[in-house]
Symmetry: C2
Subunit: 225 residues, 2 copies
């Protein structure tokens, strides 16, 4: 353990310091920007370049990266591959996260097919749906199974993260079943606020929120035009 720490640097798991929640929320954005830079063949980048690629200001970026102990090299900047690794390790996406998706409508299918999950370490181990008519369908190479298989799948694969893509009316029941069988993180696409115990993390995705933010700016543009 001592040795591993010396080689790989401080791991997030060792660390007792907390990264501010707003910084945590930006780490995936930096990771994506670094992945793009890497794919373009960029070896090193300045904080300004990375800030532009990520769409944040460079002072905020430097502050965020300082929580990871990443300061770059004066006159050279950041090593793209290494910083990418540091951030991925900090987030935890250097490990494999088995994920189960419940609700295989258009959204569930889009999520199952979403390449951005696989490339970040999220592996969809099961697609579950309450509708018997969907049984045995194969989506993105994964067979659709009965929702009643949830407990067994979570146990077999050690699933910690569940994705709810059901209609709103079904979502709380799905969440209750997930929590009961040991899932401790839920990504909720259903348009309702889930009630879960304190130790369970829920993140809501509301696809209309970004549209509303655009509308706000659009309205102001129209007012000044």
């Amino acid at each position: 353990m001592e040795k591993a720490t010396a080689v790989t640097g401080r791991t997030s798991a060792d660390s007792s310091r907390d990264i501010p929640e707003a910084t945590v929320a930006r780490l995936p954005i930096y990771l994506r920007a670094l992945t793009t830079l890497s794919e373009q063949g960029t070896g090193t980048c300045s904080s300004e370049e990375l800030a532009v690629a990520a769409g944040v200001n460079s002072a905020k970026l430097r502050k965020d990266l300082s929580y990871l102990g990443s300061y770059g090299t004066r006159g050279v900047g950041y090593d793209v591959e290494y910083l990418r690794y540091q951030i991925a390790r900090e987030i935890g996406v250097t490990q494999d996260w088995p994920v189960v998706i419940v609700g295989i409508g258009n959204l569930g299918q889009a999520l199952a097919n979403y390449s951005g999950f696989r490339s970040r370490g999220f592996r969809v181990v099961a697609l579950l749906d309450a509708d018997p008519a969907r049984r045995d369908e194969v989506v993105a190479g994964v067979e659709v199974q009965a929702f009643d298989n949830l407990e067994q799948i979570v146990g077999d694969h050690g699933v910690a993260i569940g994705v709810i893509a059901t209609p709103a009316v079904a979502a709380q029941d799905v969440a209750d079943r997930m929590v009961a069988c040991g899932i401790t993180s839920i990504l909720n696409f259903a348009p309702i606020v889930l009630s879960v115990p304190d130790q369970v993390d829920v993140r809501k995705v509301d696809l209309s929120i970004e549209l509303q933010i655009l509308a706000y700016h659009e309205q102001r543009k129209a007012a000044t035009a």
Copy 2:
């Protein structure tokens, strides 16, 4: 004008003050929480109740609402319906926003069917796809048309907001065509950074970001367990 202002209060369009971007991003969350409270038959709520429903702390909530000139009534709290109206007006979702969606895969279909768009004033006026095989399909009551109809549809309906749900390789071309025909706000679901002129707003939706935030916390839970 003077009179309208007196009746409805200051409108966002009149106002010269800027609301901080972080507050703007939370307004849709308050709106959703208020809609839920309203549907539950709640007439008034304290800032604490609303903060819990929205998942933010109440000091931040009060500060955010103060930008809208909303302070509630001492000992009574906020009038749910009125505050909901104030926020909806501030965001701009009391008006009708014609929207065009390009790319009718699973994600595009999920978006076309998403009830959360319609209920917030976003009206999908056209679904466009480059694939001739998709032509004349009807999704959520809207006919799929050729992408080449973009310019005419944007002109006919006064579309200001475009949604890109195409694969990454097609997204920049779609954005260029949108900008050329007058679209000034783009919601981008494709996993690439779009290059657009300064006066065009782009919001990216990366469906994996919330999963990565869950992974971060999940990793920390595992480390402390």
